[in-house]
């Protein structure tokens, strides 16, 4: 493998210093002179018709500068696809979930805005609601959207091969019901935006968005302005994890509309309670899975019936249900597959994308079911995975799943061997099994996630590399670092490709007036696609530098070598000059040459058919094997997780620190949704609406984590990279539940596995010692 000067090094993050000294500015840190504060008035019903909105009393409060309601948006609605744009910024005729926004106020301070919100009088006609997705799909349930009288937001029926025949010929077939939890992204920075609607007809916003160009298009459509008049200046982003910070929320539209009305800048910051009760969350899914195997444990067929709890609007739901279906066909060879999926509208807050989008549900179900079948067949859990795992394709070849997903590298078998050879698994029978009431167990999983997501519509990332006369470099992309470390990785790619020094690369936040349009930071796509764009832009700039050096030295351009901050003619390496000198020669050539490299990712749009389930949603796929060791207190059901070992095939770790950190963070988020986090909902009402009651892990809750890089050097990724941000959130829940099974002898099929559920199950099995 090639020796790199920058790639693969444990360099400090490019934004580290700003972050440790408190100078990284987030949306809530932005302010402008004369700025007003926005509050959203919210509905007290989960399902109700709006009869009348009276804002007159609110307008009379001293300090209130503008009040708006749903009608002010002129019928604008947004959503993922043209046919599913069913969500208004503020409810107009009907509210469909509790605390949906109905009006908003701009006032001189937050307290005044809040006080005015309480004076907005809305007359409602309360309607019966429906909150359970299976109930919503039953005939006669309350109808949430007139355009979907059966409450079916999305529906797919895919069929590959012949599952009936395959089940009939199988040695063993199991059917189980799995359910994944009601969980939220859990970013610490609440959504916020500062907006100014310039009366001359342009909008400038400073919003907390991990994919700012969605918001850019939403604002242009909502305010009927050309895109050139929408300027998003992006602050630092305090965590994203999909959903809310990809999309727009009520406050995002309201601040712009209020600024337009009041003629002043307006800011909103959602309190955490508003986040936990109204923001987008992961779909809660019910999965009826039927899996068949031969006597030797070879997969014969899967039939999967999935019901997604969609909440009140469609949002990105069509993609969620597509990904949920795709994840079953890999990373194990599957010859026959049937998928029937329904996303149900319910009167709950909106379900959308979250880290591990779609894959977390069905990979959990399939991995656990594979473990159950292994137990029934008397086959070792590692062995059954090895027998079914897809092999790493030979160079120049690719593997294609039954529904047309293709990949050129697959390190699953290597990852499984790696974790199985580690102390945690290899020594598990020699380690302590019981200590007082604690029963220890070790579990394993083998999963996959897609990287370089290609959705519908605009897919390409662009980049520009501008060489300054002193040899420093401005890297300009529309890609967003929402914390994952992509700015660092992109700067490393630019430095490596240019032959410049990492510390000479500068990258700023997105500014839609200057940076190239970028689809966004979702589906683990930034390193792959913005990375490729950066690589090509750097190559273009380098070519221009080589030409300038060639004409100065009187040699052919390909005789010029630029590496590690120096340039020299290949034949005379001793005649080297610094990158700075080279930049000067190039920039001063003629009357001020502009050395500007341009590039864009070339993967483009793959034909994906949501209705038949065929196509290829990613440019490549990561593979993860994970082991977990934990102890279960058999009296109280409390689980203490002590160790994770994660072997992750991310192609090639470009910035190993970030790859490890992403694996570690994803795994802890996965741990949390497997054993702690869940919204306690009752008729659309969220009981746990603070971080005190909605449990997220603290430093004392998390295990020791070892991350092992499985290097497959993917031919399509920049410098061989694949995704690294989401694999471990998919691999952790099944490994953890497998470990709980090892400790208790009970299979849990519903997340999260809380102490209450463990004690109940132990009692049912007569295993509870209490």
């Amino acid at each position: 493998m090639e020796e790199y000067s920058v790639i693969g090094k444990r360099l400090p993050r490019i934004d580290a210093k700003e972050k440790v000294i408190g100078q990284a500015k987030y949306a809530a840190d932005c302010s402008l002179p004369g700025m007003l504060w926005c509050k959203v008035a919210r509905a007290p019903y989960a399902h109700a018709r709006i009869l009348h909105v009276d804002t007159s009393a609110a307008l009379k409060v001293p300090g209130v500068k503008a009040v708006i309601s749903g009608k002010d948006f002129g019928g604008y609605t947004w959503g993922f696809m043209a046919t599913t744009r069913d969500e208004p910024p503020l409810a107009v005729d009907k509210v469909r979930y509790l605390y949906e926004g109905v009006a908003a106020v701009a006032a001189i301070d937050e307290e005044t805005a809040e006080e005015a919100c309480e004076l907005i009088k809305v007359e409602y006609e309360e309607l019966p609601g429906v909150f359970d997705p299976e109930e919503a799909l039953r005939e006669g349930s309350p109808v949430i959207h007139d355009y979907r009288p059966n409450n079916v937001s999305v529906e797919y029926h895919w069929s590959f091969g012949d599952v009936e025949k395959a089940f009939a010929e199988s040695y063993i077939v199991r059917e189980d019901r799995f359910e994944t939890g009601k969980v939220i992204t859990g970013f610490l920075e609440p959504p916020a935006s500062l907006a100014y609607y310039d009366p001359s007809g342009s909008i400038t916003v400073w919003p907390a968005k991990q994919s700012p160009y969605f918001h850019y298009r939403h604002l242009a459509a909502c305010f009927r302005l050309p895109l050139s008049k929408i300027r998003i200046i992006q602050p630092f982003i305090g965590g994203g994890f999909g959903g809310t910070k990809n999309d727009s929320v009520a406050g995002d539209f309201c601040v712009v509309m209020l600024s337009k009305k009041a003629g002043k800048p307006v800011k909103y910051v959602y309190p955490m309670e508003e986040v936990l009760t109204t923001c987008r969350r992961r779909h809660n899914m019910i999965i009826y899975n039927k899996m068949g195997m031969t006597k030797e444990g070879i997969l014969t067929a899967v039939e999967s019936r999935v019901i997604g709890n969609g909440g009140a609007y469609t949002a990105i739901g069509p993609l969620t249900m597509y990904l949920t279906g795709c994840a079953t066909t890999m990373p194990y060879r599957l010859p026959h597959y049937k998928y029937d999926a329904w996303r149900a509208f319910t009167n709950n807050p909106v379900s959308a994308a979250m880290r591990g989008h779609g894959f977390t549900h069905t990979r959990f179900a399939c991995d656990i079911q594979m473990g159950m079948l292994a137990e029934e067949l008397g086959i070792d859990p590692v062995e059954i995975k090895m027998r079914n795992a897809i092999d790493n394709p030979k160079r120049g070849e690719e593997y294609r799943t039954i529904n047309g997903i293709s990949f050129k590298t697959c390190g699953l078998k290597e990852a499984l061997k790696s974790v199985a050879g580690e102390r945690l698994w290899a020594d598990k029978d020699r380690m302590e099994k019981e200590k007082g009431p604690i029963s220890y167990g070790v579990g394993i999983s083998g999963t996959t996630y897609q990287g370089g997501a290609r959705q519908l519509g605009h897919q390409s990332c662009g980049a520009m590399v501008r060489i300054c006369e002193d040899g420093t470099v401005n890297l300009i992309t529309g890609a967003t670092d929402c914390g994952q470390g992509s700015d660092t990785v992109l700067a490393m790619i630019a430095a490596e490709e240019l032959g410049a020094r990492y510390e000479d690369i500068s990258i700023k936040r997105v500014d839609s007036a200057y940076t190239p349009v970028d689809p966004g930071s979702y589906g683990s796509r930034v390193t792959l696609l913005a990375g490729q764009a950066t690589q090509l832009a750097a190559r273009d700039a380098k070519k221009q530098l080589m030409q300038a050096a060639a004409s100065a030295w009187g040699v052919a351009p390909d005789e010029v070598e630029i590496k590690s901050g120096f340039a020299y003619p290949k034949s005379k390496p001793d005649k080297r000059i610094s990158f700075e000198k080279l930049a000067k020669i190039a920039c001063y050539e003629g009357s001020g040459a502009v050395i500007l490299g341009r590039g864009h990712s070339s993967y483009g749009l793959e034909e994906i058919d949501f209705n038949t389930g065929t196509g290829n949603g990613g440019t490549s796929y990561s593979f993860t094997a994970q082991t977990v060791r934990l102890g279960v207190d058999m009296e109280t059901g409390k689980v203490d997780v002590t160790d994770f070992t994660i072997a992750h095939d991310g192609g090639m770790p470009l910035h190993p620190v970030s790859v490890e950190s992403q694996n570690e963070g994803g795994a802890v988020q996965g741990q949390s949704q497997a054993m702690y986090e869940q919204f306690i909902m009752e008729k659309g009402f969220t009981h746990n609406r603070t971080l005190l009651d909605y449990k997220m892990p603290r430093s004392t809750d998390v295990p020791d984590i070892k991350v092992i890089d499985i290097i497959t050097d993917d031919p399509d990724g920049p410098f061989g990279a694949k995704e690294a941000s989401e694999g471990s959130i998919v691999s952790t829940p099944p490994a953890l539940v497998d470990a709980i099974h090892a400790a208790t002898g009970v299979w849990f099929k519903e997340l999260p596995v809380t102490p209450e559920k463990i004690v109940r199950a132990l009692k049912e099995k007569g295993k509870w010692p209490g």
């Binding site: 444990r10 400090p12 993050r13 934004d15 580290a16 210093k17 700003e18 972050k19 440790v20 000294i21 408190g22 100078q23 990284a24 500015k25 987030y26 809530a28 840190d29 992204t185 859990g186 970013f187 610490l188 920075e189 609440p190 630092f236 982003i237 305090g238 965590g239 994203g240 994890f241 910051v269 309190p271 955490m272 929402c482 914390g483 994952q484 470390g485 620190v657 970030s658 490890e660 950190s661 992403q662 570690e664 963070g665 994803g666 795994a667 802890v668 988020q669 603070t690 971080l691 005190l692 997220m696 603290r698 430093s699 004392t700 998390v702 020791d704 984590i705």
Partner: protein
């Protein structure tokens, strides 16, 4: 409105605040010290951690008036000019952050811990950071950063 005198990062400020104004709002809105973050506003997440007479506190739970006569240290006051505090430098070297939103509070909690216990065990490090949520890193790199800071401070 109440007149108060607040000592922040070694400087005294004469301020007029509402009696119910929190230390967090006063730092952010009146003094422009936005390095102190607001996450939950309820004392759970620790993003607003500042040091008051050397002890970590949630600035969202302290009234500005209660902070009178105390020494307040925010993240902006930790580095000495261009020289980062060893804890800050360790977070940079090890990569003890992702999005950075918890970082100011985390760094200050770590500093307070090491001031009290210069050579903490891993258990004590975890305990010392228990009041600060991080959703990005899974805490691993943060704990490593604190261990590295211990080494740095030993010189």
């Amino acid at each position: 409105m109440k007149q108060i005198r607040l000592k922040v990062n070694g400087l005294s400020h004469e301020l007029e605040v509402k009696p119910w104004a929190t230390l967090l709002d006063t730092l952010r809105e009146d003094l422009g010290l936005t390095g102190t973050k607001e996450g939950c506003g309820q004392g759970e997440c620790g993003a607003c951690t500042v040091l008051m007479d050397g002890k970590p506190v949630n600035a969202c739970l302290i009234l500005a008036m209660e902070a009178q006569g105390k020494e307040i240290l925010t993240i902006e006051g930790l580095a000495q000019g261009d020289e980062l505090h060893p804890v800050q430098q360790a977070f940079v070297d090890i990569g003890g952050m992702q999005c950075g939103f918890c970082t100011p509070g985390m760094v200050l909690s770590a500093k307070a811990l090491l001031d009290e216990k210069p050579e903490p065990t891993d258990e004590e490090i975890r305990k010392g950071l228990e009041g600060n949520f991080c959703r990005c890193t899974g805490y691993t790199k943060i704990i490593e950063s604190v261990r590295a800071a211990v080494e740095r401070m030993k010189g």
